[in-house]
């Protein structure tokens, strides 16, 4: 068990190194930040001085090494655009994105699994078929379109919910939260639905098909044949077995909720890291882009590690170290 975790952590570190390298080398082709930072009246001396200041005159491997060295210590450099340390900007922006992602992730998983189980158990029911048809919309419409439609309906026409921003936020230490004020909660509704809808329908359809498969298994028939209550059969025997494959996909989906937040944040002008990244791209703000990509990959890798460990928790077949008495 411990060796397994250690092995996975080492693998994760390797993945992060490679992601860092790819991200960092790509930025060499997105444009020259010096162009944006200095105005029209610049001299060659100015350019050379700024280059030296920012370390851009160094060879690529040296730049990458320095980036890594600093990143490990939590120092992602200074934003070219804002002139502030990137770590500081990220800490300021991250709570907005994480809150949005957490709320939409929670919605996606709870509603997705709930509806998935419902549509599987009532396979031929009218309501279940309705849900299945409607869910096609969630899968097929692009995120930004759903966002714009929701804004049009609930903000422009009905005027119930705000169309942009986070509303009022409360600060708890360095963490800013919108969950404690009514305007903050209201502001969360539309973006989290927009962000989570695709994941929700995906999880629902996945849970449904897995559950239908599991309900056909002999151990479910045998549980029924033992006279156990329908609820026990469905939730104690079937659901747990359904979740094993569902967890993998859900884990990946949670990662992409954070990554896809870029679009939602743009549509709703949500002051999170996604919006920060979009702005950074426009300005070729390399330190911000690099830090953002590293942050996303840390989360992906972290979530995958958790998924793998969850397997161990759920499936006893993986836990035995050959002590099974065969």
């Amino acid at each position: 068990m411990l060796t397994y975790v250690l092995k996975r952590v080492l693998q994760s570190a390797l993945v992060l190194l490679v992601v860092g390298l790819v991200a960092f080398s790509m930025f060499r082709f997105v444009g020259d930040p010096i162009d944006n930072m200095l105005g029209q009246e610049r001299t060659d001396a100015d350019i050379a001085r700024l280059r030296a200041d920012l370390g851009l005159d160094q060879p690529f491997p040296v730049q990458y090494y320095k980036f890594l060295e600093n990143a490990v210590q939590g120092d992602f450099g200074v934003s070219f655009r804002q002139g502030r340390p990137v770590a500081e900007i990220l800490v300021e922006r991250a709570p907005a994105t994480l809150e949005l992602a957490a709320v939409s992730g929670f919605l996606a998983i709870s509603i997705g699994i709930g509806l998935g189980v419902f549509t599987a158990i009532r396979k031929d029911g009218f309501l279940a078929n309705m849900i299945m048809s409607v869910s096609l919309i969630g899968v097929s419409l692009p995120t930004f379109l759903i966002g714009i439609l929701l804004i049009y309906l609930f903000s422009v026409e009905l005027g119930w919910l705000p169309s942009f921003g986070r509303g009022e936020v409360t600060h708890i230490g360095w963490w800013s939260t919108g969950l404690l004020t009514s305007s903050g909660l209201k502001a969360l509704i539309l973006p989290s639905i927009t962000l989570g809808l695709y994941q929700m329908t995906l999880i629902m359809r996945l849970v449904r098909s897995e559950m239908l498969e599991v309900l056909r298994q002999d151990y479910v028939r045998f549980a029924r044949a033992r006279g156990l209550k329908e609820r026990t059969v469905n939730f104690r025997h079937a659901l747990k077995n359904t979740l094993v494959p569902v967890i993998t996909v859900t884990g990946l989906q949670l990662g992409s909720i954070i990554a896809f937040a870029i679009i939602t944040e743009t549509v709703f002008q949500w002051p999170g890291v996604g919006l920060l990244f979009i702005n950074a791209i426009q300005f070729v703000d390399i330190p911000v882009m690099a830090a953002y990509l590293m942050l996303i990959s840390v989360m992906f890798v972290g979530i995958n590690l958790i998924v793998d460990l969850l397997y161990f928790a759920i499936d006893p077949r993986l836990r035995t170290d050959g002590k099974g008495a065969h």
Partner: protein, 572 residues
């Protein structure tokens, strides 16, 4: 008949489909008394399992009981609502399924599943339930029950799992147990133990048992009464002795005649005359165009020496910490030209591993293979092996997964011909059509896909594919163990014809001793990767040398009470 626990009268089960009404069971009658084991026998699709499901109220929709009644202790139970059925299910009537590997929830411990069921039915406290669960595990013969109760199903072997399943079925002290093929997935020795346990429990608790099976051996050894089903209808019912010894119905007669006997060797199985499922096999036409190679000088076609295969059981970076499992351990034997050599053994004994090494599907980890006096294990390149591979062909156990479902039958049969560049152009299609005619399917079968055929027909397609390259040596790996007994008889007859008329040499792998006796000239017994004993078939059955062989033979159902009607002319 006041002491009948379960009485089924005039039961019909219908499955309405879009095109027509499918009658799975038609007016079936069956009665079970306390302590009685009642066998329900028939081939696949006969409706045996449907009767079990109907009694339990577990019919898959849209299936439903169309008429007739099921009474439990004199009370009608069909027509009860879902809650009423559930009160009966598990409590009064329990069920045991075929495959112990899939009938336990893999994510819950054995104890959790037992305690849950006991708590639900007997309303005992958690601690009392656990105590009872341990008693039950002890009763069904699981060693160290108090320790093993906290283990998960995958930590038990197949036979032990089936014991756990039986313990689960006993949780509520039921009056009737429906056992649906309880031993089909198990080895002979385990099968004998499980059947013995079921017999003991039926006697001891006065539980009525319906034993659903397709295996005449199980019926003969275990049951008191037997009911024979054919296409949804009960054709015959009576005491086991009477039905098996002096069958009255034509179908029962033909079914019994098709059962391979451990004590009699027949030349050919009598061709079934019931139900019109007869398919011809044109061996004479096939033999006319068959190119026979030069016979070997030594008379021995295949010889293996010290054949060894190890699999990696646990990987590790340091080679010394890796663990290996030896699937075949220095196996040696030789097969004379034109003979059928059998390998018998229980699952995991290495039978199939040896076959796959001979077919060069597995690399060997030691030992030599000689074919026609040439050492095959020395040939390194695929090109050198081509000629050898053309001469050996294989027929696999599972007729469903051994044919590519996306390929047409004529493509499947033509593939080896094209691969070995034996024929060109129209001649390929001609060969394919001819083979399909000869195996009795007709050349139009080539335009269809494998799923359009039954198990027996698919095995004929496999045979046609194996014959396409005109091989000298056939490897048959459990070729009939997935088939019904009447279809098995047809396929075995075909294989006998191939050996006799085409002079094919065969390696015949089976766990079924009666089948081996019918088919093989010589037999090798394998156990845990080693060849225990090799002898002439008749010698082996009459006077086995090794203790393990004697044990295997003693576990084999004797079937002495079976009628020999229709076999008279065939007994050798």
């Amino acid at each position: 008949m006041s002491d009948t626990v379960l009485d089924i009268e005039g039961l019909s089960v219908h499955f309405p489909t879009r095109r027509k009404l499918f009658v799975a069971v038609n007016k079936a009658n069956l009665a079970v008394e306390p302590g009685e084991i009642h066998g329900l026998v028939g081939e696949s699709g006969a409706g045996k399992s449907t009767i079990g499901a109907a009694v339990m109220g577990l019919l898959e929709r849209p299936g439903h009981i169309a008429e007739g009644s099921v009474s439990f202790k004199g009370e009608h139970i069909n027509g009860r609502d879902a809650d009423g059925m559930r009160a009966l299910r598990g409590a009064k009537i329990s069920m045991i399924f075929q495959d112990p590997l899939t009938s336990l929830n893999p994510l819950l411990t054995v104890g959790q599943q037992l305690v849950e069921t006991i708590q639900f039915h007997l309303k005992l406290s958690e601690a009392d339930s656990k105590k009872r669960a341990i008693e039950l595990l002890d009763r069904v013969g699981i060693p160290n029950p108090s320790e093993r109760i906290d283990q998960y199903p995958h930590q038990f072997s197949g036979g032990m799992r089936q014991r756990v399943v039986i313990a689960l079925a006993l949780c509520s002290e039921p009056d009737v147990i429906i056992a649906d093929e309880p031993t089909t997935a198990l080895d002979v020795s385990i099968q004998a133990q499980i059947l013995e346990l079921i017999k003991e429990l039926a006697r001891e608790r006065q539980t009525g048992v319906i034993l659903i099976t397709h295996d005449m051996g199980v019926i003969a050894d275990t049951t008191d009464k037997v009911t024979v089903m054919y296409q949804g209808q009960v054709v015959e019912s009576g005491t086991t002795e009477q039905v098996l010894g002096a069958p009255e119905h034509e179908y029962t007669k033909s079914l019994i005649a098709a059962v391979p006997r451990p004590t009699l060797k027949v030349h050919r199985f009598p061709q079934l005359s019931y139900g019109g499922r007869q398919i011809a096999f044109h061996i004479d036409d096939l033999a006319r165009n068959w190119e026979r190679p030069e016979p070997t000088k030594s008379g021995t076609l295949l010889k293996v020496e010290g054949l060894t295969k190890t699999f990696l059981a646990r990987n590790a970076i340091i080679p010394s910490r890796r663990k290996y499992f030896t699937a075949a351990d220095k196996v040696s034997f030789d097969i004379r030209e034109g003979e059928v050599f059998g390998i018998v053994g229980e699952s995991g004994s290495g039978k199939s591993t040896v076959a796959r090494m001979i077919a060069t599907l597995y690399q060997t980890n030691g030992g030599k293979i000689f074919f026609d006096d040439e050492e095959i294990t020395q040939l390194k390149t695929a090109k050198d092996l081509e000629s050898y591979r053309r001469q050996i062909q294989m027929i696999f156990q599972d007729p469903f997964s051994s044919l590519n479902p996306r390929m047409r039958v004529d493509e499947i049969i033509a593939e080896p011909v094209k691969h070995h560049k034996l024929l060109e152009g129209a001649a390929i299609q001609h060969r394919v059509d001819e083979l399909l005619e000869r195996v009795g399917l007709g050349s139009e079968a080539g335009r269809k896909y494998p799923h359009e055929f039954s198990g027996g027909q698919r095995q004929r397609i496999s045979i046609a594919r194996a014959l396409a390259t005109q091989p000298r040596f056939l490897i048959c790996d459990e070729p009939t163990s997935a088939l019904d007994v009447s279809i098995q008889a047809q396929i075995l007859n075909i294989l006998k014809d191939l050996q006799e008329h085409l002079g094919l040499t065969m390696l015949f792998i089976s766990h079924d001793l009666p089948v081996v006796r019918q088919m093989c000239d010589r037999v090798g017994v394998m156990r845990q990767g080693q060849m225990v004993e090799v002898a002439d078939t008749e010698t082996l059955f009459a006077a086995p040398k090794e203790a393990y062989t004697r044990e295997l033979l003693s576990l084999m159902p004797k079937l002495e009470g079976l009628s020999t009607e229709g076999l008279e002319d065939e007994i050798v």
